[in-house]
């Protein structure tokens, strides 16, 4: 699989560029997911986020997830770009694009890929609030992990 399909970037993500990577004459369906920085989470106001990655392993793991999805949904094309560095409210953190000959596999593979990214790609998010900061994802500090997600 072309490793250019799986990217980390410090620049704002151009959604169309990610979509362009999965365009295919025999795919009539493209599902994309865009994860953006949400301002309010459980009543608390986020000022900004910072993303950090174990870069080579993160790219490799995203490619593995893409291959998994293609095994489960043959005929799909997958591209993933994840942003690193400092992000403000409504900035794009991640874009997942999946093309497929027909609709259902495009939606299903896309949702699957997002779940797998959250499970196993070595990328970390630090939240900045008015009263402090925290690296998210640490179970010892995060009793209700789901509440802390930004998507």
């Amino acid at each position: 699989m072309d490793s250019n399909l799986f990217n980390l970037t410090w620049e704002p993500i151009e959604v169309q560029q990610v979509i362009d990577k999965v365009v295919d004459r025999n795919c009539g369906a493209i599902a994309t997911f865009i994860g953006t920085v949400r301002e309010m989470t459980a009543g608390k106001k986020t000022l900004k986020l910072e993303y950090q990655a174990y870069e080579p392993m993160a790219v490799k793991t995203m490619a593995q997830i893409g291959e998994e999805a293609q095994r489960k949904w043959p005929g799909t094309n997958v591209a993933i770009t994840h942003r690193l560095g400092t992000l403000g409210i409504s900035d794009i953190a991640v874009v997942i694009a999946v093309s497929s000959p027909h609709r259902p596999p495009a939606y299903e593979a896309n949702a699957y890929i997002m779940e797998r990214i959250k499970e196993m790609v070595p990328i970390w998010k630090k939240e900045f609030w008015e009263d402090g900061t925290r690296w998210i994802g640490d179970q010892r500090e995060t009793t209700s992990y789901d509440e802390e997600e930004n998507q």
Binding site: A53, P122, D138
Partner: protein, 77 residues
């Protein structure tokens, strides 16, 4: 010597993003204990690790020249 890479909370607690350790022949579990003894880091017992960019379990033995990364619970996406 081996390379140890630190991220997120672990990186902040230890105060650096990488260090070297004389840990060839040790298991991951032993490396975790060595880290806990030497640095002001919270328990690493439940922290995942990767050896040379592949997830590894606590029993894996580290070889000379390996790169070990501590992977706190991830929060990308």
């Amino acid at each position: 010597m081996i390379q140890v890479l630190l991220f997120a909370r672990v990186q902040e607690e230890v105060g650096t993003d990488r260090l070297e350790a004389d840990a060839a022949g040790k298991s991951i579990k032993e490396l975790k204990r060595w880290m806990e003894d030497r640095y002001p880091v919270s328990s690493l017992s439940r922290t995942m690790t990767a050896v040379n960019e592949e997830f590894a379990n606590d029993d894996e033995v580290i070889n000379e020249g390996d790169t070990v990364a501590f992977i706190p619970p991830v929060s990308g996406g």
